[in-house]
Amino acid sequence: MKCAEIHPNLPAFVLGGLEPEEDVEVRRHLASCSDCRRELEELRKVNRALEAAPSPADPPRHLKDEILSQVRTAEERSSSNEEQQEDLASLRERQRSLEAPRSERSKHLRIILPSVAAAAVVAMVVLGVFFGVLREEPPVATIQLVPTPQEAAGLEGYWGVAEIRPQPSGNQQVELKLNNFEQPKPNSYYELWFVSGESRISAGSFTSVGEGETRVLLNAPPETRNYRTLLITEEHIDDHRTFSEEVALKGEVP
């Protein structure tokens, strides 16, 4: 058989998908054709790469809807907050006009007073809604995170705050606001822990932007509710894949 007839069968040969008689023909040809053997080697590389491929699987359909729903809710909330801020700005503008000289103000009093009254009603509603939104997820605890003495040496403005909010799922959302928290060293990352006695639970790993403020949002499992100490460690992985850590910040849940 000629190379041109063998070539189209080589991928199927590599996959082991030829009929027995075709398989024999390909083997016979390969025994005497170095070009086709070279081609076969290339195809085997692809076949070996396929070993690393994940098995084909679609994620469940509901996942996409859930993600889009979360995005939609957050976007709506954000746009609603923007509208509230615009209303508040408008109210402030009206208040400033009230503080104008009395003679000028009296000319417009008939117009302004009903407007102010209306604005006040709007403001009360807006503030009610605004604080209502805030009340949905109040932080149950605000924790000052301070550096350990050796970490603090020579560092200025190096501190953090953690705000903990309960989630409907039972998880605790932890918002970290870290100030001048230096970037982790190479092969390192930071990790937040909830500690109780000799047990600890990880709330996840993160990195830092270095100078200025770093904000991180993490989710801690429900069991962390009874863990009263927060700890941020810098985790190192060396070439031998052993792990070590240094404590960077810690704080106590009040």
Partner: protein, 198 residues
């Protein structure tokens, strides 16, 4: 064989739309293009369906929240998304592994060393190759991907694929050969343009 519809916006364009009114359409397009890869790599790394589903959610919400961190001048969207996926998978892996972990004696806050067998590093090592092969497979059109999936993952012969799909045997062979050629090209391109992943 590698396809991109002319009216399809690029991944990078989708990213710029995540901060505007078209956010849902943009995240939806990215999800359609990458969710199989994220889920598949998640299954390979985490070995658990429920955690892999959690991973898909975490990754796409992080893409949306962190879209401003994506800088196309520093690398492709696919590579950036791989990093996000890897980081989220690492978090899930570690969270699962250390839900409750005992700390060594002495200072209750410092564990000097950690058992390497606990480490997720080994699990993550293969994930970049998995990602690249998955992306190469996703870049095939459906008929070509189907023959590879049935042959490689299904273990079917060319004749069995023909019988299963109703596609003539000659066409199955042609598609298998073309798919291999495309995978070879795609993996070579990815290899030469390989970006640092850590």
């Amino acid at each position: 064989m590698m396809y991109q519809r002319a009216d399809e916006i690029s991944d990078e364009q989708c990213m710029t739309r995540l901060t505007g009114p078209e956010v849902e359409a943009a995240i939806s397009a990215l999800y359609d293009r990458y969710s199989r890869t994220v889920y598949g790599v998640g299954l390979k790394i985490l070995g658990d369906r429920s955690l892999s589903e959690e991973l898909v959610q975490d990754v796409f919400l992080k893409v949306w929240r962190s879209s401003r961190n994506f800088d196309p001048s520093r690398g492709s969207f696919s590579t950036w998304l791989y990093r996000v996926t890897r980081s989220c998978a690492l978090d899930l892996y570690r969270k699962r592994a250390s839900r409750v972990r005992q700390v060594s004696d002495g200072d209750p806050y410092i564990a000097a060393t950690r058992d390497a067998s606990d480490g997720p590093q080994e699990v993550m090592d293969e994930s970049w190759l998995s990602w690249r092969v998955s992306r190469a497979l996703e870049a095939l059109d459906a008929p070509h991907r189907e023959v590879i999936e049935l042959a490689y993952f299904g273990g079917l012969s060319q004749r069995e694929i023909s019988e299963r799909t109703g596609v003539p045997l000659g066409t199955v062979k042609t598609r298998t050969a073309s798919a291999f050629k495309s995978l070879r090209t795609e993996l070579t391109i990815q290899d030469t343009s390989r970006e640092p992943i850590r």
